[in-house]
Symmetry: C2
Subunit: 289 residues, 2 copies
């Protein structure tokens, strides 16, 4: 099955479990709206790709890991957009969840999506206790404190921020969760996959910073210039546009180098290279050529 | 070990895992502040009491379940107090988390506590996969959508609210999680414990409604008259004070009746009766005598 179709089906299943008779209609709608239609689903695709490169012997556990990671990503976007953070009226080219449903349902939908992510993974414990024990630990580490998304976001509340820590936690941590949990859900050794996730997460963050700083975005569907406005660390502001582009290319190359030898390695390396081209605006690549 | 000491130790361990070098200091402090010093720890005590009544053969799993339930309860209080919900400046007799740390850290601390709860339970999967698979499902059901705390809170955003649904989900669901997960963590049949949790949750909610409506609170440490102010359903406003007191007494009696026969049943029944006296202001009991 096409990976995107597989991810959408897994997400449909997961979110569908909450959208039943008796759920407060506003909450069910806000949760659905936060997840569908999605963005590029880059994290769950990465999780599936790694699991596939490792043989993917238990696709249902891989689906659980991948969809949980995407649910947590969606939850973080809903909370990031809240008035007290980015106060962003737009996400993925349409009103953000709090703009469409109000702040209260945005807080609750984010909370309920976090719970749903763990519920989705928890359902696979009886069938694959060993793998899911690892996957749940990995995913939780990627989103919570002290070093997950919540921590990354919390650096915005501190006076002094180390750019590297901030990005590693706010963005990189879920990419690491995607590669590591992909291997774990396939019952494969996962240590070697950590660095692939780290490099890709950092590359993605630099691309996002470039999009924000230059206004050249490929389908991000969100406002630009936000980092400057909010005084947030941004690689393009720190390194300059050309410097940031070179940094991103170096990170992608090093992620490709870090892919361990396994039957699916050549295809996975190709996928990473094409994905890197997709997230980087062509105008920017020409600029740095 | 004294149950309260046991719960505090388990919570210390859980929250301590987030309070390490490298965690954004504000986030670590806000998480700690949200959990310590606690309230009556009524939900984890109930969880421990049920596990104990069932023999408690695996105390570490019981501790994980009980502390996860308390972490989720604390997270829900942090988010409930936010300006977009109750806008409560006070909780447990001191500034609420957003009053003390700002709204952004309050949102993030709540999120991180939800993650921490599942992380805490997840750690026991390798040692007790069967029990923890059940416990995680039970606890997730108690907090998420369609019928957990998030759903209960979301009914406040709907035009029409059924008082029973609202209370069952906003308060009862975590009491049910406490009794059911207590039995599950002990590897005991859990079905019979559901009704005990339901009745106690409803009784507790009625006591809370009475405290809010009459201003007679036993150590709740939060403002009164909030339900009326926010137009929220309240049993004392709906049934009158005397009616609500009788309802609460009936619920406690029926919870005691529902305790299944097990070696620890007599002691557990005594504990429920004394707990019911503790949460009900004496002046109110005299009123309804």
């Amino acid at each position: 099955m096409d990976p995107i179709a597989r991810i959408e089906r897994a997400l449909d299943c997961a979110v569908g479990a909450a959208e039943v008779r008796g759920c407060p209609p506003g909450l069910a709608k806000a949760m659905h709206y936060a997840v569908f239609p999605g963005g590029a689903r880059i994290r769950p695709r990465l999780c599936l790709a790694v699991a596939w490169a490792c043989g993917d012997p238990d696709p249902a556990s891989t689906d659980a890991a991948a969809s949980a990671i995407e649910l947590l990503h969606c939850a973080s976007l809903v909370h990031d957009d809240l008035p007290c953070f980015d106060d962003s009226p737009i996400r993925r080219g349409r009103p953000s969840v709090h703009s469409a449903f109000g702040e209260r349902l945005a807080v609750l939908a984010g909370d309920a999506l976090i719970v749903l992510a763990f519920q989705t993974m928890g359902r696979r414990i009886p069938a694959a206790p060993e793998a899911m024990g690892r996957v749940i630990a990995t995913v939780a580490e990627g989103v919570g404190a002290p070093h997950g998304i919540c921590a990354g976001q919390a650096w915005e509340c501190e006076g002094e921020v180390a750019l590297a820590d901030y990005h590693r936690e706010k963005t990189g941590s879920l990419f690491v969760a995607a590669t590591v949990a992909g291997a774990e859900s396939a019952g494969a050794p996962s240590d070697t996959w950590r660095v692939v996730g780290e490099r890709l997460g950092e590359a993605y963050q630099v691309a996002d910073d470039l999009g924000d700083a230059t206004g050249m975005r490929q389908g991000f569907g969100k406002p630009v210039g936000q980092d400057d406005t909010h005084g947030r660390p941004n690689a393009a502001l720190a390194l300059g546009v050309t410097g940031a582009i070179h940094r991103m290319k170096g990170l992608v190359a090093s992620a490709i180098d870090a892919v361990p030898n396994c039957p699916g390695a050549p295809l996975l390396r190709d996928l990473i290279a094409s994905e890197a081209r997709r997230i980087m605006p062509e105008e920017l690549l020409r600029l740095a050529a």
